[in-house]
Symmetry: C2
Subunit: 530 residues, 2 copies
């Protein structure tokens, strides 16, 4: 035996298992949802602790503790010996100043690693396992590798319906929950995949004008050319402090805000950071993601829109019914009243794809403008009608007519204007929307009937054109399914603000217009009667 | 239409779909096997191209092209506007100088993404799919997320045996192949998990002394306290240029070198970078990893050691037989003659765990020292005997006696000394091995018979003590299965060179000694007769 007993508070490697001390340094690198720590290769601590690149370290100070993946650095301008660098998000979590002394040690594995390994081994997990996993995910204890492992191991049919319920419950518990102190709080949600589908911006004012509480928190686009929050932001501010949101909802019975400030189901945002690059969207993950957000947001009733079509997320009625049953199972066990509506997802809804173009369509519907897209109006009325029927005073089947009356009378427009004013108006003029100054047109080759419009491809074109980041970019459709076109007729117009965006969009259109021109009988069957 | 047609070779965002130009900068951050690109948030290119944190970009210069994951930076000391930073490994792949102009663009997805998505969807893949995936992996086109997705989606029984063969073939093709220009090239390999199991260092000199060609390339430890390369490095240099290796093998019929310089099955090393943190080691991945390395190294005959025991990788005979059949299926289709030997994996082999301690055991066996561990000697003779029987002139069943004769006569020692001298001797004295100066002892609580030794736990203790990075650290066992011990008898001694290492090891021993003291009949059944 020959070891020193001296404890040290100086910077340097620890003795007797004491963690090593380093000076904290903020490294201005944005590593998104992964915590990264930077340590110099010649740092005595790095040497003595036997750390390895990509190993996980635990950093503590002031009673805070975070885990991070270690990157080894050979440039003292980034981190010097005796310093511990942290990526921006990791630094923020530690709530300490630059230069503060932190301790660093090999991290113990997150407590839920055992449960993750059992899932990787194909086992069924219990509620407590999901709680442990989701807690570790939402507190950023998982590396990107571990996150991906969880997402892939729970992909497809790896989760049974009870496990999906457990996952949903765990995701709700890991974040904040809003309580509106009313028994009836209605919301609607679409599983996504249909460009231009901005029904929320019509449904909320209709339902709120009826007096129902509809505090809609929406997401920004993840892979689509616009989310409701992106489009609403054309008209009004959407990033509101939660207290301001409460006041608006209290006064106006509704809002259309971005949900990111409320810490609802925070694990969902972390999971999306790996689901998005892998384009994974399995039924179990979709159900847990949507229902955890909605329940955490305090909804008691949810109308869920599942569109079907050849280029929609769901492509057949049996698939839609399977998904519906999974949503209903989980909702029932978590005491959310759920009304699933299966809708026509064969083509984009409305004319515009992209924030400004969609805002134009929405305002024209509210203003009963003859140029308003009828499909958007009809779909919004159907969904609003179903939500109104959650009101015990509305008779089954009467919802649609009530919704139409609210829209036609201008009460929905008045309510929307109130909400816009309350959130902070951006003075958008739907009669003169500012569109991207660069544009090109795509025209029909040959005559016939529009027999197919590819949702994915049109969404891609709008994204290449710059949407949603460039609000005035996107695609403006001039022909829809079933329309007769002659050779050279205009199919759609693409708008962009930057030449490179325009060129990317043009190349995408050159590969395919996304339109199929055929015979009337080639138009795909409407799966739904609704 | 309103767009500029001017082409530009100045730095800045591209026009008309031309890729954007930036000045290359080496960022001295070691991100292991993942290429990372760093771009300043205010860089005009970042803004104009609509890149996102974690999106993948393609960087080109001089006819080279690499893909990298983008990290956004807010510190001009790391990268300034107009610069593109690359992590160390990524910079090296591009083979360009600091300051060189590179073009950067949104990356097209790797060509194998379609195949990866089909695997994620549960489909069976064809040989060409595996070729595309493995080519993309070995050229670093996959992000950590995509790599993990592939590893998890091919985990457990997700690959059928033909798919394992395809994966193995693809992994061989993606790297270099050694050709020794002889019809009989023998090798041995153990699937791992048993500490102290250094039979290769005995088998190679025995077999080479017999005149068979045995060019053994070994790995360093990944999760164990020592790999053959780590232990051999105590005696001789192991990092040899491939041409020097050829000369040694030509002269001495054998070598014991590190395989990392030869670019054999390079995808394997990339896959291990995510399998290791997840502790994934499924049968399919194990077979593809081992057989691709061995076939690429030019082996015609392989003796494969599968140890069974309660704390070994394989825990039952049926499991070992299933694994054996999978190895045999793939080997047969890839024309490798395979001889699987199922061995006793109930406890560590030999006395020492850690590079110096294991080198001491190996040299004592070669020197016929009475202190040599008999289990290591016996196991090495059995394996060498099986390899010798690949020689058409050796009669079935005679291998063991020939191996013993070579060992007992000192010819194996002489051959080992030749190989050590050829690779570059490090002048190790097995009679006076330099062990870590700090140590503590672990003693029996209560009397009885050693009825269990946990391979994992002993390996962990040796790693906490510093092995394999600290060569003189490790665990020296003084009692093995079936030995009678009295209360207070020495079970093992732990050696370390750093106080913090010693303390970590001490804490691990305090949690559990890894030994079970019970009755003679508690000693687990020997699964194998061998």
């Amino acid at each position: 035996m020959n070891e020193s007993d001296a404890k040290t508070s100086a910077l340097g490697p620890g003795k007797n298992g004491q963690p090593s001390r380093l000076a904290l340094r903020r490294v201005l690198i944005d590593t998104y949802h992964e915590n990264v720590a930077y340590m110099h290769r010649d740092c005595e601590v790095y040497r003595a602790e036997g750390f390895k690149a990509l190993s996980k370290v635990e950093i503590r100070t002031n009673g805070h503790s975070i885990l991070a993946t270690l990157n080894v650095v050979d440039d003292a301008a980034i981190v010097a010996c005796g310093e511990l660098g942290l990526s921006k998000a990791a630094f923020a979590q530690l709530e300490a100043e630059d230069g503060h002394t932190v301790t660093v040690a090999q991290a113990e594995a997150p407590v839920s690693m055992g449960a993750l390994h059992r899932k990787l081994g194909g086992e069924r997990l219990r509620l407590d396992d999901f709680r442990a996993i989701v807690r570790d995910i939402s507190t950023h204890q998982y590396s990107k590798i571990e996150l991906t492992a969880f997402v892939v191991a729970t992909n497809r049919d790896e989760l049974d319906r009870e496990e999906v319920q457990f996952l949903t419950e765990a995701m709700i518990e890991a974040g904040s929950r809003l309580d509106w102190r009313e028994s009836l709080v209605v919301d609607k949600h679409c599983i996504g995949g249909i460009p231009g589908n901005r029904t929320s911006m019509l449904v909320v004012p209709i339902v709120a004008a009826h007096g129902m509480l509809c505090p809609k928190t929406s997401s920004r686009a993840i892979t689509s050319p616009a989310g409701t929050a992106d489009t609403m932001e054309v008209l009004a501010d959407v990033e509101l402090p939660i207290e301001r949101l409460r006041e608006i909802v209290h006064t106006h019975r509704g809002c259309l805000a971005w949900g990111g400030t409320a810490n609802l189901s925070p694990a969902d945002d972390v999971l999306i950071s790996v689901e998005r690059p892998l384009a994974l969207d399995s039924p179990g993950q979709m159900v847990a993601s949507i229902l955890s957000k909605k329940i955490a947001a305090g909804s008691s009733h949810l109308v869920l829109d599942i569109p079907i079509g050849p280029s929609a997320k769901v492509r057949s009625m049996p698939e839609a019914q399977r998904l519906r049953r999974l949503f209903e199972y989980v909702a029932r066990h978590l005491k959310l009243t759920l009304d699933v509506v299966i809708t026509d997802g064969r083509q984009p809804i409305g004319f515009g794809i992209g924030p400004v173009l969609e805002a134009r369509d929405v305002m024209r519907v509210l203003e009963n403008d003859p140029r308003a897209p009828m499909d958007l109006r009809q779909k919004a009325l159907r969904l609003a009608g179903r939500m109104l029927e959650a009101d015990p005073d509305v008779r089954g089947g009467d919802g649609f007519a009530i919704a139409r009356d609210i829209l036609d009378s201008g009460r929905a427009l008045a309510k929307m204007n109130d909400i816009i004013a309350a959130q902070g108006s951006r003075n958008f003029d739907p009669n003169h929307p500012t569109l991207g100054a660069l544009s090109f047109e795509v025209r029909a080759h040959g005559a016939g009937v529009v027999s197919g419009i590819d949702n994915h491809h049109l969404a891609h074109i709008a994204r290449f054109a710059g949407a949603p980041k460039v609000k005035e970019a996107g695609v403006d459709l001039c022909a829809k399914l079933g329309d007769e076109v002659k050779d050279g007729d205009l199919l759609y117009r693409v708008h962009a603000s930057y030449p490179s965006d325009l060129e990317f969009a043009r190349q995408a259109c050159a590969r395919s217009s996304g339109y199929r021109i055929g015979r009337a009988e080639d138009v795909p069957h409407v799966f739904v009667e609704f």
